[in-house]
């Protein structure tokens, strides 16, 4: 039964290759997208860190997104 499942009655190579390519590409794209997002969050947090205390406070007060990015970054580290 397992042999049949693997060979797919002679179409195994084509079926498994199709599924493998699809999910491998999806996994690579997910990993790269996730890494890019984390890199941007990190760079953004670093840039905020380089500001003076008052400037940072001003940025966080004026930009809701800035504080959310910072919160998301702190959660992930």
């Amino acid at each position: 039964m397992i042999q049949n499942f693997i060979s797919m009655n002679g179409y195994g190579l084509f079926v498994w290759l199709s599924f493998a390519i699809t999910f491998l590409v999806c996994a690579i794209v997910y990993y790269r997208t996730y890494r890019t997002l984390k890199k941007y969050e990190k760079d953004f947090a670093k840039e905020l860190d380089q500001l003076s205390e008052s400037e940072r406070k001003l940025v966080l007060e004026k930009s809701k997104i800035a504080s959310q990015v910072l919160a998301s970054y702190s959660k992930s580290i």
């Binding site: 499942f5 797919m8 009655n9 002679g10 179409y11 195994g12 084509f14 079926v15 290759l17 199709s18 599924f19 390519i21 699809t22 590409v25 999806c26 794209v29 997910y30 997208t33 996730y34 890019t36 997002l37 941007y40 969050e41 760079d43 953004f44 840039e47 905020l48 500001l51 001003l58 940025v59 004026k62 930009s63 809701k64 997104i65 800035a66 959310q68 990015v69 998301s72």
Partner: protein, 235 residues
């Protein structure tokens, strides 16, 4: 209405949505794969090679739907000049490109056992290659043109021109004599596909759509952060 797609309004929902999709994704994936690879029956003519349909068809649909969305959003952008739409189209394009490539590759893998050839320049396949070229042009416009406003304009024009190709892809199997079979699933309810095959197909479509949503949200979030980072000094 357009305020609803304002980045600062939806930003905090993005994280929640990403977490929600992550929490259900693997369960749905396992269910869909079980149906696609084990529970669904082999086709009476194509045998088990028909299982390639469960990745090929949703990939092609997503490739087409993504480009249609990009083109329609580009039109809206031309009319209403909403900057945020550019972020969305820019985030959708790589997903559409990926699924168009997957549709072509898995189609080729399906073609060999059913048609006896990896490739044929028939109307459906050729029009899918044209779609792939439009995706590449759209992405290249954003990558190669340094002025963001000009890049957006050129990319929007490419998307609107490319929209012409969508009905060509859809009706290519009816308009011309093609090696590619005509569609088995029709919106008007006259589908010729059996429920035992339709269910895994829809499950795989759902899983791949959730995956697209996940990537889109992450890419969109990245784009927002990139812009905010640029503006940080200005604030």
């Amino acid at each position: 209405m357009f305020d609803l797609i304002n980045p600062s309004r939806i930003f905090h929902w993005i994280e929640k949505l990403i977490n929600f999709i992550n929490s259900i994704f693997f369960i749905l994936l396992i269910i869909a794969l079980t149906f696609a690879l084990i529970l669904s029956p082999p086709d009476y003519l194509q045998g088990d090679s028909v299982r390639i349909m469960y990745v090929h068809v949703p990939s092609a649909w997503i490739g087409l739907a993504s480009f249609t969305s990009i083109a329609l959003l580009s039109m809206l952008n031309f009319i209403f000049k909403i900057k945020n739409l550019n972020l969305i189209t820019k985030s959708i394009a790589p997903i559409g490109l990926m699924f168009t490539c997957l549709a072509i590759v898995t189609g080729s893998l399906w073609g060999q056992p059913t048609w006896g050839t990896w490739w044929a320049w028939d109307a459906r396949i050729t029009s899918m290659v044209v779609l792939l070229i439009f995706y590449i042009l759209f992405i290249l416009a954003h990558k190669l043109i340094e002025q963001e406003e000009k890049a957006n304009k050129v990319a929007n024009i490419i998307a609107i021109i490319g929209l012409v190709n969508i009905p060509v892809i859809k009706y290519s199997v009816d308009w011309w004599n093609t090696l590619h079979q005509s569609s088995s699933i029709k919106i008007d309810g006259t589908s010729s596909i059996h429920a035992s095959m339709l269910l895994p197909l829809m499950l795989m479509l759902l899983v791949l759509l959730l995956y697209c949503a996940l990537i889109l949200l992450m890419k969109y979030k990245t784009e927002i952060i990139r812009i905010k980072k640029k503006n940080i000094k200005r604030v």
